[in-house]
Amino acid sequence: MRIKVDRARCTGCKLCQQICTIEHYGEINPKKAAIRIGAEFPEPGVFTPRLCVQCGACARACPEGAIERAGSANAFVIDPSKCTNCGVCVETCPIGVMYVHADAPTPIKCDLCLKCTEVCNTGALTVADPPPRATSR
């Protein structure tokens, strides 16, 4: 399972960022979101949502072994009890989608909770490769 980004459809509304921090921190604070929205204005006029693609580079780099696949979505997730907030994962991330915030105890990373895809109304964020549905004949 992954989140598919169609940047041509993104309008930069930040609903995804709000629901992300509500879900993960119990706070409203877009700066703590695991998804960032690049805005290339005035030219060419494009929004670029940027979030983790679950490549696992951070997990391989983590000196504490604090990042492992977990949960029903099988995403790479940071274990806060092991994480020392050393920042190696942030530096290692090949596409720059591990984020930091002064008030966050660990780096910020998408765990595929998919809440953002539920509020997005333009199709910019959708769930791809959904698990196969049981069918009956």
């Binding site: 409203i28 005035p42 008030d103 333009t122």
Partner: protein, 638 residues
């Protein structure tokens, strides 16, 4: 306190002193934010004889209670001062992302006092507040400066700027943010410029304190899911407000050639459909909005550089397009870009250029006045040269730089009869000759002819377009609806287009703040604001109120020459009838002055005292004021 940033900042630009104080919860609850905060502060603190562009005026920036919250489209940010255009109370708001950013930095109101000796910009990075030199930015276009400051400060700063028009004190200069969101009306950009504040740059990284986050989250989440399949969603997402161009032409309220008529030959070339086909680059939403009415465009005109802009939205199409005789969406988009970068409101700006084009048509303004250029209907080159003259206040541009009322006063020759304005504020993009409730809305508004003070076009249709009867109480109700959104600071379109009720917004306020807020309490704040700003206007401009609630002669007595509304006009008698009906329904006296009874009912006894001292207090109404002021009628909003 939940729901707010918690701090009010006052900046003395003359001395550089910055004072912070906690936002009093009593103040927050009594006025709710933005338009309410502005109305109260300006009324209490700006001397009645203060020059709008002088040191005694205040310039206020204030988000509202729902700004930055997870409530539906809590994006708005209010600006306020005394208006150089109308000499009355001024407030104007914008969407985008700056309002939320200010809340996340921890602020509920920023008050600029006095005048800076040198050009400056306000820099806020959470708790850091600095007044920084802006000499290097002075003279730059609004959009150019935002591009530059994003490079200088970083992408995650939200920035508002003024253009040359604001620096030069043009009466309808606007404030621009996010490459095309404007606080456009009342000349708030001129007041910002008069203080020599070129820009405001803010980064906020704090969390908004919420009383009941699970409650608020579920509330808004459910509204999102409910409204996604709403039939209005798709057309609004596709075309934004521009979808209204066809409707307005079919219904005879679209301004064509300075409101000479109300059906624009060639409107198809500047319609929402044309926008989507020809110039649209991307859809662009304000913070927390899932219907993205914002359209980001590129204008391509042979011989001119390609330009990027947000819009054109309905009002810009109506006023820069229809009212200036344009029929090509690229031209309207380019006109939009010109106004945005110069820092001119596209609404007053388009209206004024259309007015000047009619002056040119009639030979009142000549080629010599225009530095050898012309001012022909629909000519984008003429438009470009003329708005440049206005923004620089150069030559005849100075005559038009303070609005159509002031221009007509200087030009004479009967030009006031075709200056479509009320209280010095230019009409929005709706002709009212077949829409008398809209005319009443424009003319009784505290800031002049702005449709967002009350949009009554569909109310006119429901109540009967050829009668003045029954209009006044509905206009009052609509005038009380708008401050809800202007104080809460969420977008009204979710109410008007997606059937999200005002009660659902007060529910959001309850979850956010923990207050037992009701729609009745909020509507009372609305009425209080209306009476306060009415009093403010009278205290500055004298009475009686009725003498200020004046309609343009064209709307009253000049029948529409063609189109679906051919032959229609409001008529002076009908207008006077509506005014009297309006005053009676408001609990004001027959001369349009607020009475002590209504002011005391609203908790404004000191305002009654102030009016009395100045001989402006309304005479008591025999039998008392109406118990309920305003009558509900749910219209289609815009």
């Amino acid at each position: 306190m939940y729901g707010f940033g918690g701090t009010i900042v006052r900046i003395n630009l003359e001395t550089g002193e910055i004072r912070r104080s906690p936002t009093p919860e009593s103040f927050a609850r009594e006025w709710l934010g933005a338009r309410g905060f502005v109305a109260k502060t300006i009324y209490d603190e700006v001397p009645r004889d203060a020059d709008p562009l002088g040191p005694e005026n205040l310039f206020i920036v204030a988000p509202g209670v729902l700004t930055g919250s997870f409530a539906p489209c809590g994006s708005k940010l209010g600006f306020g001062c005394v208006s150089p255009l109308t000499n009355g109370h001024a407030d104007s708001n914008m969407g985008g992302h700056l309002g939320p950013e200010i809340k996340y930095a921890g602020y509920d109101m920023i008050v600029f006092e006095r005048i800076s000796p040198k050009p400056v910009y306000l820099f806020i990075d959470d708790d850091t507040i600095e007044i920084r030199p802006a000499g290097q930015y002075w003279g730059m276009g609004s959009l150019d400066l935002e591009t530059r400051m994003k490079k200088d400060l970083g992408e995650d700063f939200q920035i508002a700027t003024i253009g040359p028009a604001g620096e030069n004190g043009v009466g309808f200069a606007c404030i621009t943010h996010d490459f095309g969101r404007q606080a456009g009306r009342c000349g708030v950009g001129a007041v910002m410029g008069s203080k020599r504040v070129k820009a405001i740059a803010v980064r906020g990284t704090k969390s908004l304190p919420v009383h009941d986050l699970p409650g608020l989250t579920k509330h808004t989440y459910d509204i999102i899911q409910r409204t996604k399949p709403h039939p209005n969603m798709e057309p609004w997402q596709k075309y934004g407000t521009a979808l209204f161009v066809s409707w307005a032409n079919e219904h005879g309220c679209f301004p064509s050639r300075n409101f000479q008529t109300t059906y624009h030959e060639g409107w198809e070339g500047i319609s929402g459909e044309k926008l989507a086909e020809e110039v649209l680059v991307t859809h662009k939403a304000c913070f927390g909005c899932w219907m993205n009415c914002g359209k980001y465009s590129r204008a391509r005109i042979p011989g001119k550089p390609d330009t990027y802009l947000e819009g054109p939205e309905y009002e810009t199409i109506a006023l820069c397009g229809g009212s200036c005789g344009m029929t090509d969406i690229h031209h309207v988009a380019y006109a939009n870009y010109l106004c945005d970068n110069l820092g001119l409101d596209t609404m007053s700006g388009g209206n004024i250029v259309g007015f000047a084009m009619e002056c040119y048509e009639k030979g009142i303004v000549t080629k010599k006045d225009l530095e050898g250029h012309e001012l022909r209907w629909g000519n984008i080159d003429d438009f470009e040269h003329f708005v440049g003259m206005i923004a620089a206040r150069r030559g005849i541009g100075e005559v038009f730089a303070h609005g159509t009322r002031e221009a007509a006063r200087k030009l004479g020759k009967g030009t006031i009869t075709f200056a479509e304005q009320a209280k010095g504020m230019e009409f929005s993009g709706y002709d009212t000759r077949w829409y008398s409730a809209q005319l009443l809305s424009y003319c009784t508004s505290d800031i002049g002819a702005h449709h967002n003070r009350s949009w009554a076009i569909t109310a006119d249709i429901e109540l009967g377009q050829d009668t003045p009867v029954g209009k006044a109480p509905v206009v009052i109700y609509l005038q009380h609806i708008r401050p809800l959104f202007d104080t809460w600071c969420c977008c009204r379109l979710f109410w008007g287009e997606l059937d999200v009720t005002p009660e659902e917004h007060t529910d959001a306020i309850r979850y956010l703040t923990g207050w037992d807020m009701t729609i009745e309490e909020s509507m009372r704040v609305s009425e209080k604001i209306w009476n306060l700003t009415r009093a403010h206007y009278l205290e500055r401009n004298g009475g009686p109120g009725r003498k200020h609630d004046v309609a343009p002669l064209r709307q009253l007595e000049e029948a529409i020459p063609n189109g679906p509304a051919e032959g229609k006009k409001v008529g002076s008698e009908n207008f006077e009838y509506m005014l009297s009906d309006y005053y009676a329904n408001r609990g004001w006296d027959a001369e349009g002055n607020p009475t002590r009874e209504v002011l005391e009912t609203l908790g404004l006894p000191h305002v009654a005292d102030n009016l009395e001292k100045r001989g402006l207090l309304g005479r008591p109404i025999p039998g008392g004021i109406p118990k309920v002021r305003g009558q509900k009628l749910k219209p289609k909003a815009m």
